[in-house]
Amino acid sequence: MSTPVSYFLVVSAMLFAIGTVGVLVRRNALVIFMSVELQLNAVNLALVAFSRLHGNLNGQVLAFFSMVVAAAEVVVGLAIIVTVYRRRQSASVDDLTVLRG
């Protein structure tokens, strides 16, 4: 038979963990953004894997949705990061503390 589902899930979990650690430890907004993408894709992988396991297409459809949303989010997010960089000559998230209470 084909590859067991658990393999996919392990890869997905590892990707998600890497993405999470990336989000938490990196300072550069661009890298954090990429890490978020990694998390999203890890989830997409899990969705497709489950879709296969259950033999219906719901998971795959949801994965497409999430890709579309991610694409849109990338457009907005990158635009914000570029603008912030232009303004402050820095992309470090630790400098962006204007909304501190």
Binding site: L24, D94, V98, R100, G101
Partner: protein, 628 residues
């Protein structure tokens, strides 16, 4: 003429309406219009009087039922006016003396920028006063009663930019309101007892049949409640404190409202309701005692005053005390005679005091007057006539009125009352001669030269002086029982004269001798220069203090009412501040404190938030896993 009765109050009402809305544009014409309307009302009243006189004595009642005012079940009140000898006498005094005072006020208020408003209030006052005296039921009377109270308030506080005037107006309104509240209860009780408020239904059957069904206790309660209203409005003990302060108003107001007309409304009310008072003997005794005490108390207080208007105010109170005294003895025609004569000479006295104020730039302190006779000879004559009339010097009006009342006390067998009344009359002569001598005679105590009032102000005074001189002879001469007494007899019944311990001539001699003696003593003390009256307050500070502060009644009321009231208000405000506002403020403060703690976790570091998300998600997963 009966169907034209409504026009009598309607004329001044029209004037008040026109002047309230267009007074500013009318300028000086306002005064003339107001005077003309009151004079027209007077002319109409005279026509009605002639109409009444042409009827047989027992049938002299005209009722003008204008329209149904309100109806609710068994309760129904009409706007109806009643002209009978009693009310037409009052109407003639109100409109006649009122017109003269209006005329005087044209000159007196000439320089006031708000003269239109002044005459609007004056006309409104005359309207309400006419409603009061012409009303054919207690509720309409009460409407007029409250209306004159309102006008009194407006006119005392006419110069409201002076704090003393504003607070005096408030004091008058609140003090009389105490009596008015009692009176309203009395009126309600009348309706409960009789099922009607019309004079015709309430008073007439009682007057005819003496076998009354309601208990005399009910009548006592009704009478005492009505008396409370009368005492408030007529400034008698113990609700008199507002009248001296009311002198803050313009002098024509003091003359019209606080001397000649409104303050006598209480006397009118008691006489109008005399049937009820008679059914309760107690109430009449109370009236007698209140009147006599008030007369003597106010006479003493008047002697202590140096403000000419306040001295006159206490004298008004004293005179009204005499009226109540007469009513308490069931000597209604005597009370009415004094009421009418008093209106003449007290208006004269007040308006002459107005001349003095006018001539001395509003100086009211008699210690800074003296010798004004030289500057204002005509005013001195007017004041002299008024003062001697009040003092009871024959043949002036006051002599007839007061002498009859004091004499009646003797002929009706009330020796102690007669003695007290004689003392009161003696003091009246003393206290009224005092301003005469202090202001117009003696050494001059001011550098200012007074100027005599213009003819426009002297003309009404001349007429009032004429009435003061002749009014007593025309109305009160005992020859055929007194014209006014005979005229009033169908309404109030004939007084029962008895045998006195002295002959009439003896009684008259006593009162005349005492009056002359009082005037002479007053001259010796305050005008001859042989008595150092100015040193009296420093030599007898206690007695002078008691007199000039009118026995500290104001202070007593301050202790009894004002201070506890203020204390209670302080308690209430502190409850409001600490408990009610406190709770709200405490909640707001706590929310504020919390909102200063909450932002501390908002450090602004994106990664901190991300860690929060992660931990939250892990916690959520663990929770779901643990729940199975």
């Amino acid at each position: 003429m009966g169907d034209l009765l409504w026009l009598v109050p309607a004329l001044p009402l029209a004037g008040a309406t026109v002047m309230l809305f267009g007074g500013g544009r009318l300028g000086r014409a306002a005064g003339w219009i107001a005077t003309a309307l009151v004079a027209a009302a007077f002319a109409l009243a005279v026509a009605i009087l002639l109409d009444l006189l042409s009827m047989p004595a027992e049938a002299r009642v005209l009722v003008d039922d204008v329209y149904e005012w309100m109806a609710a079940g068994a309760f129904s009140v009409d706007v109806a006016f009643r002209a009978d000898p009693l009310s037409i006498t009052m109407t003639l005094v109100v409109t006649g003396v009122g017109a003269l005072i209006h005329l005087y006020a044209i000159g007196y208020m000439e320089h006031d920028p708000r003269v239109g408003r002044f005459f609007a209030y004056m006309n409104l006052f005359v309207f309400f006063m006419l409603v009061l005296v012409l009303a054919d039921n207690y509720l309409l009377l009460y409407l007029g009663w409250e209306g004159v109270g309102l006008c009194s308030y407006l006119l005392i506080g006419f110069w409201f930019d002076r704090p003393s005037a504003a607070s005096a107006a408030k004091k008058a309104f609140v003090t009389t309101r105490i009596g008015d509240a009692a009176m309203l209860l009395g009126i309600a009780l009348i309706f409960i007892t009789f099922g009607s408020l019309d004079f015709g239904e309430v008073l007439a059957p009682l007057g005819a049949a003496d076998g009354a069904t309601p208990s005399s206790g009910t009548f006592t309660v009704i009478s005492l409640l009505l008396l409370a209203g009368a005492v408030g409005k007529s400034a008698q003990l113990p609700l008199h404190v507002w009248l001296p302060d009311a002198m803050e108003g313009p002098t024509p107001v003091s003359a019209l409202i606080h001397a000649a007309t409104m303050v006598t409304a209480g006397v009118y009310l008691v006489i109008r309701s005399h049937v009820l008072f008679e059914l309760s003997g107690t109430a009449l005794t109370v009236v007698l005692v209140v009147g006599l005490l008030g007369a003597i108390y106010a006479a003493l207080a008047s002697i202590g005053q140096f403000d000419i208007k306040r001295a006159l105010a206490y004298s008004t109170m004293s005179q009204i005390g005499f009226m109540f005294f007469a009513v308490g003895m069931r000597f209604y025609e005597g009370a009415m005679l004094l009421l009418v004569c008093h209106a003449f000479y007290k208006a004269l006295l007040f308006l002459t005091a107005g001349n003095v104020l006018h001539g001395l730039d509003d100086e009211t302190d008699m210690r800074r007057m003296g010798g004004l006779r030289a500057d204002m000879p005509i005013s001195a004559v007017w004041f002299g006539i008024g003062a001697l009339s009040l003092a009871g010097i024959p043949p002036l009006a006051g002599f007839f009125a007061k002498d009859e009342i004091v004499g009646f006390a003797a002929t009706s067998g009330r020796e102690i009352a007669w003695l007290l009344a004689t003392v009161g009359a003696f003091m009246s002569a003393l206290y009224i001669s005092r301003p005469l001598f202090l202001a117009f005679f003696g050494r001059r105590r001011t550098e200012r030269t007074a100027h005599e009032a213009p003819w426009l102000m002297q003309a009404p005074l001349a007429l009032l002086a004429l009435l003061t001189v002749g009014g007593g002879i025309v109305l009160g001469l005992q020859a055929e029982g007194g014209r006014l007494a005979t005229f009033l007899e169908p309404v109030v019944g004939a007084a029962e004269h008895g045998e006195a311990f002295l002959s009439d001539a003896g009684l008259i001699a006593i009162s005349v001798v005492l009056a002359v003696a009082a005037v002479a003593i007053a001259y010796w003390i305050w005008a001859s220069g042989r008595v150092d009256w100015q040193a009296f307050p420093s030599r007898q500070p206690e007695l002078a203090g008691w007199l000039s502060n009118a026995f500290y009644v104001n202070t007593l009321y301050a202790w009894l009412v004002q201070h506890p009231g203020k204390g209670f208000a302080h308690v209430l405000t502190s409850v409001d501040d600490r408990v009610i506002d406190g709770a709200v403020n405490e909640v707001a403060e706590d929310v504020g404190k919390a909102s200063r703690i909450a932002p501390r976790i908002q450090r602004g570091f994106v990664r901190t938030y991300a860690l929060g998300f992660l931990l939250g998600a892990v916690a959520l997963l663990l929770f779901l896993g643990w729940r199975g």
